[in-house]
């Protein structure tokens, strides 16, 4: 009885463990990752990492900002890579995470606006500076009176 149960258990652990070991081996022989790249790369699922890192460089840490998304069919979606879960909500969350500690606010209160897949001119705000973040992505500094 012990032999049968023990054998079944070992067989199950080996069967399940094979997947774990294969994944470990693939990780070991695969290319390593820089920490900073590994932090940002997975957000490719939701938004252009070029736009994300560009926005972080451009918008000051103490500034407020908003994200306005257009049709969400960016050119980079045709590139090879993970299948994209691009929609306005997940896109906004990706920017909100990556741009912390900058404060996300509604458009009418924002000092900066990220126009994603939409022309900055159609945002309905006056702006002074405009920075191209990537294909169809812009950051504009809003003029507040």
């Amino acid at each position: 009885m012990v032999a049968i149960v023990g054998g079944l258990t070992i067989w199950t652990v080996a069967r399940h463990g094979a997947t774990v070991v294969q994944a470990g081996y693939r990780s070991l022989v695969g290319p390593g990752h820089e920490v900073t790249n590994s932090d940002l790369d997975p957000l490719t699922y939701f938004a252009s990492t070029v736009a994300l890192s560009g926005a972080r460089d451009v918008i000051p840490r103490d500034a407020s900002y908003s994200v306005v998304a257009g049709t969400i069919k960016p050119p980079f979606s045709a590139l090879p890579g993970p299948s994209l879960t691009v929609n306005p909500t997940s896109l906004e969350y990706a920017f909100r995470l990556w741009l912390l500690p900058r404060t996300y606010v509604p458009l009418r209160q924002a000092q900066w606006v990220i126009a994603y897949d939409i022309s900055p001119d159609s945002l309905g705000v006056k702006y002074t500076d405009m920075v191209v973040l990537g294909p169809d992505a812009f950051a504009v500094k809003v003029v507040r009176r």
Partner: protein
């Protein structure tokens, strides 16, 4: 280099704090000097330091490397000083029960497979990336909360207010923020490694706790089944708190069950730390923790009579959530979940109109629970068992509890009752919940059911040992005297 050193310094703190606490309880000498002690120290230290930092943050403590080290130092020094003024009985040495040659081979092969699996998991976690697509809530609010604590050097109510599910307590984001602080930046890619390390520590800690009561030919293969179960492995690196909650509740249940076997109050102290951390990690932790404290108190009273009332101390664990509600209330923030209102449980009219939700959730939970257990057990290889799946599993579990209960009725009753209460409390939440039931269950059931499954799998070796009468006697464990708590 800064990242690696910071990560190492961060991870050294946990076993140091945990060892000091085990020393305070008089348990440190019970686990040898090797891997078993390290695993249990790590898990204990993570829970204790996490709880202390969470409470500190609520009281206005800044979160910096200096403050984290200071809190850890206070805990270590406090444990050592208090221990020196206590005269606890000397710990008994572990005395594993010798098995046959076949049992020894099962132990060796199981240990080798478990060791290789844990090593492979750590390599994957160290060299892989975090996955926001599978852990959407991490992107939505868990990591933003951690980043907020990291950048604001503490709990800032203004920043907390704008993040979803602000009612969830802060332990998990605080511990993630500690990693950011030690590594000098917002590095979500390091969290899978930290989580995998905690998962490995849990498996080793469970082995350490079981080892004095369960022969290794039972404990090691059972833990290997758990450690390589597809659902355990799939969530091992997750930055979400669900699997961590499952570790903490399972560890609390195991230490409580051990207290019901062995009359040393120190086990309750250990369970209390796990329960406090579980309650400060997620609202489900309060539900599971309260149920656990209540059933262990009842079982303790039945087992030890008046001396069993000591288990009442466990209620302080889930009680830690009151501090969080006080902090939320102080800052004018909502303390209840937007998904349900607990007061509705006392509204018969409301409940009566929603019985379909209860039926649906019970069926879905039975299906999900079955799959989790069967996927971890050798029976999983047989594929779906159709309509007999649920009755077969329930009958099997009841039979195990019955036979274990003949040797240790308090343990079997506590585990069985907790499982019933845990499932019932989850069903109650689905019953009164506002989101559409199908999507609500679909999104959450695998996460919340993981805790009962983890508890079952962790307690399985102990229950099997009790049922098979394979546990060592008090004499073999080096004990003497009447069975009353010290």
């Amino acid at each position: 280099m800064r990242v690696a050193l910071g990560l190492a310094a961060n991870d050294v703190l946990f076993p140091v704090v945990g060892f000091a606490f085990l020393y305070l309880l008089g348990l440190a000498a019970s686990f040898g000097n090797g891997l078993r002690l390290l695993g249990l120290s790590y898990l204990t230290g993570w829970a204790l330091l996490g709880s202390a930092l969470s409470i500190g943050l609520m009281l206005g403590l800044p979160l910096t490397i200096l403050s984290v080290v200071a809190v850890a130092a206070v805990l270590v020094v406090g444990c050592v000083l208090v221990r020196r003024h206590r005269h606890a009985p000397p710990p008994a040495d572990p005395a594993p029960v010798a098995g046959s040659a076949l049992n020894r081979w099962i132990t060796r092969i199981g240990a080798a497979l478990l060791g290789v699996g844990v090593l492979a998991a750590m390599i994957t976690a160290a060299r892989g990336e975090w996955n926001p697509a599978s852990d959407y809530d991490a992107l939505w609010f868990w990591l933003p909360k951690a980043a907020t604590i990291y950048y604001a050097h503490g709990l800032d109510p203004q920043l907390w207010r704008v993040i979803a599910h602000l009612e969830y307590p802060p332990l998990m984001p605080a511990m993630t923020a500690v990693t950011f602080a030690f590594t000098g930046g917002f590095h979500p890619s390091l969290i899978p490694f930290q989580q995998a390390l905690l998962g490995a520590a849990f498996v080793v800690a469970a082995f350490a706790l079981l080892d004095r009561f369960v022969p290794r030919w039972l404990s090691i293969p059972a833990l290997a089944l758990l450690g390589t179960a597809p659902w355990f492995w799939a969530k091992l690196e997750s930055p979400m708190p669900d699997q961590t909650l499952a570790y903490l509740i399972a560890a609390a249940m195991l230490t409580s069950a051990i207290w019901l076997c062995e009359p040393r109050t120190a086990w309750l102290g250990l369970a209390l730390v796990f329960l406090a951390a579980a309650s400060l990690i997620k609202l489900e932790g309060v539900l599971f923790g309260t149920a656990l404290a209540v059933v262990v108190l009842g079982a303790g009273l039945a087992r030890y009579r008046r001396a069993g009332a000591r288990a009442g101390i466990l209620l302080l664990g889930p009680g830690a959530i009151l501090l969080w509600h006080a902090w939320l209330g102080w800052h004018g923030l909502r303390g209840s979940s937007p998904d349900y209102d607990l007061a509705k449980l006392a509204d018969p009219g409301f409940l009566e109109g929603r019985t379909a939700r209860l039926h649906y959730s019970l069926h879905a939970m039975a299906r999900a629970g079955n799959r989790l257990l069967l996927d971890a057990l050798p029976l999983g290889g047989l594929g779906p068992l159709g309509r007999v799946e649920t009755p077969a599993l329930i009958v099997g579990l009841c039979a195990l509890l019955f036979f274990a209960g003949r040797r240790a009725p308090a343990v079997a009753a506590a585990v069985g009752l907790w499982l019933v209460l845990a499932v019932a409390s989850l069903a109650a939440i689905y019953w009164i919940g506002y989101p559409p039931i199908i999507s609500y269950v679909q999104v959450t059931v695998r996460r919340v059911e993981e805790t009962p499954a983890m508890v079952t799998m962790t307690l399985l070796p102990l229950l099997l040992a009790l049922a098979l009468r394979a546990t060592p006697t008090s004499r073999q464990r080096g004990e003497s005297g009447p069975e009353a708590p010290d």
